[in-house]
Symmetry: C2
Subunit: 329 residues, 2 copies
């Protein structure tokens, strides 16, 4: 056994007869890499291959109204209980890609090249991570949209306002489409936020996609193995999906909850982005009662990456249990 200078200096003696460890050649310090792994993750649902492709995250100061019916102190307590920083909120974005029945299907598209307002860099990563995951956007056959909020539809377009998936059919919830394309509904809006949701949806679908979309109904198999489920409240046409292949399923919950540490734990809490908060709560409880009773895994768009989890009842709410990462599929 050899002895290094470090060892000798530390005074851990008694081995003095061993020869000195040869000095290593001087070398430059390795610079820190400073870059996260391209965040994608694969799993199988029966024969279907699911790839979760992160669009990144956004962090902002926690406001008094992020949860409409809970005090900021209560929200901070829920964050602290989950070992997360208080007084700020991080929201994650996780579109998925499904390869099943010969079709390559994107479900929701992230914030797009512009990123979440004022936060470019930390999100809008979907397009790059998709390429890192070995998926060519030109090979995508179908893009399925759950609802028309910007973090789900803005990735439909490139920075040049072209279709990001030029060979794909774009499927949208029929109810959502009718609502957001209705000039009367748009005229009723009184808040800047809701006016913005309408105008952004029209920007994407009118200017960008020239209205080349396929509306879909609920309760249908809208793509191979992918079944649409009405989960309204978050928006009037908000949709979730059951992906089924063989005996295996996953419930793609879209925005039934935003952050699970807040809204899975506290299903009665109302998110400021839920358009009809009471309906959203009813939907949330119904969905979580079902998936917890059936032990059906969920895939959550706003869950921390990779967003695959189990849900169990816990007191008056639920607990989410992330599925362990499988290092090989």
């Amino acid at each position: 056994m050899n002895l290094t200078r470090r060892h000798a200096l530390a005074g851990a003696a008694a081995l003095a007869t061993a020869p000195l460890f040869p000095a290593l050649p001087a070398k430059a310090a390795a610079p820190a890499v400073g870059k996260q792994a391209a965040s994608f993750y694969r799993y199988k649902v029966g024969d279907a291959e699911v790839t979760v492709v992160s669009d990144g995250s956004v962090t902002f100061p926690l406001g008094d109204t992020f949860v409409l019916n809970a005090k900021k102190d209560e929200v901070n307590a829920a964050l602290a209980k989950a070992f997360r920083p208080v007084d700020k909120m991080t929201i994650f974005f996780g579109p998925i890609v499904i390869n099943n029945g010969g079709k390559l299907i994107v479900v929701d598209t992230g914030n797009g090249p512009g990123g979440f307002t004022g936060s470019k860099g930390a999100n809008g990563q979907f397009a790059n991570n998709l390429v890192a995951a070995g998926i060519d956007p030109k090979a995508v056959d179908m893009v399925v949209i759950s609802h028309f909020h910007a973090d789900h539809i803005n990735g439909l377009l490139t920075a040049d306002n072209e279709s990001a998936f030029p060979n794909a059919e774009v499927l949208v919830p029929s109810t959502e489409w009718k609502y957001f394309m209705d000039d009367g509904e748009m005229g009723k809006q009184t808040t800047d936020r809701m006016k913005g949701v309408f105008s952004n949806a029209r920007r994407v679908f009118d200017a960008g996609l020239k209205k080349k979309v396929t509306p879909y109904e609920w309760g249908k198999e809208i793509a191979p193995g992918l079944n649409s489920v009405s989960t309204i409240g978050h928006t009037p046409g908000h949709t979730s999906f059951v992906l089924a292949s063989g005996a295996d399923t996953v419930f793609i919950q879209s925005d039934v909850t935003n952050d699970p540490d807040l809204f899975v734990r506290n299903p009665g809490w109302h998110l400021m982005f839920d358009q009809d908060p009471d309906q959203a709560e009813t939907t949330r409880r119904k969905v979580f009662d079902m998936v917890s009773a059936d032990k059906m895994k969920v895939q959550g768009f706003h869950y921390p990456f990779p967003g695959r989890a189990n849900i169990e009842k816990d007191g008056t709410g639920y607990r989410w249990v992330p599925a362990p990462w499988n290092p090989s599929i």
Copy 2:
């Protein structure tokens, strides 16, 4: 709004005046990728950059003695409670790399090119994932070993029995080194497993590294920011580490527990690989009392990737709460 054949066939009518959606050109189905992401993950501890680099996992039938003092039914119940399959056990392997103070430091090395006995392919991924993470093994300055089990030391060598980190100083726990290099201790062994641990340690350190190692003591800063902590029981020289930079720390728990769903939940359970199970339990309770009281994050070698978690008391045991994945650092 256009209407596709799919839509028309589904009978969702009422929009018949819209032109038909132009037929997409026929294209070949995109093949499933069938390959997991290279599993690495980065985070900062103060100025230090930590990269968790998965070595993969191994799955085997759950035996009656995997937990020495619990019935197989109880172990299955703990797995089911964590929404994991029963009657089998998956163990994950997660070495880390620390870039701090100008030094690139590997902590434990995984199963090496041969993989975990009989399971090549699903593990032994550390070397490949290291390259995917942008880390050149030739740039590694120090390799720090926690203890001498094969899944921690076999990655020290290449398939050609050469050093996998040719420019690195190899630091080993002094107590572990003395124990496993002692012929008298080796002669006392009565089980094939323990004889194998001794012979494998000697294979790696004698034949491979020609004993060019630096023993380190406990309670020292053995590399920039990396402090060694005695956590004996799993082996006679088993070591954990506190990485500290600025006000930030992480407790690198090595094998204080194996699978957290079993042994964090049930710290009194004795793993068949704990050489001194009673001492291992004492150590485990002491460590988890400390990290839960101090709200110190842990990095667990056998936790599901990426293995960064918080520990909280829960009844007679503890609960582990994975830290959310940060899609950018």
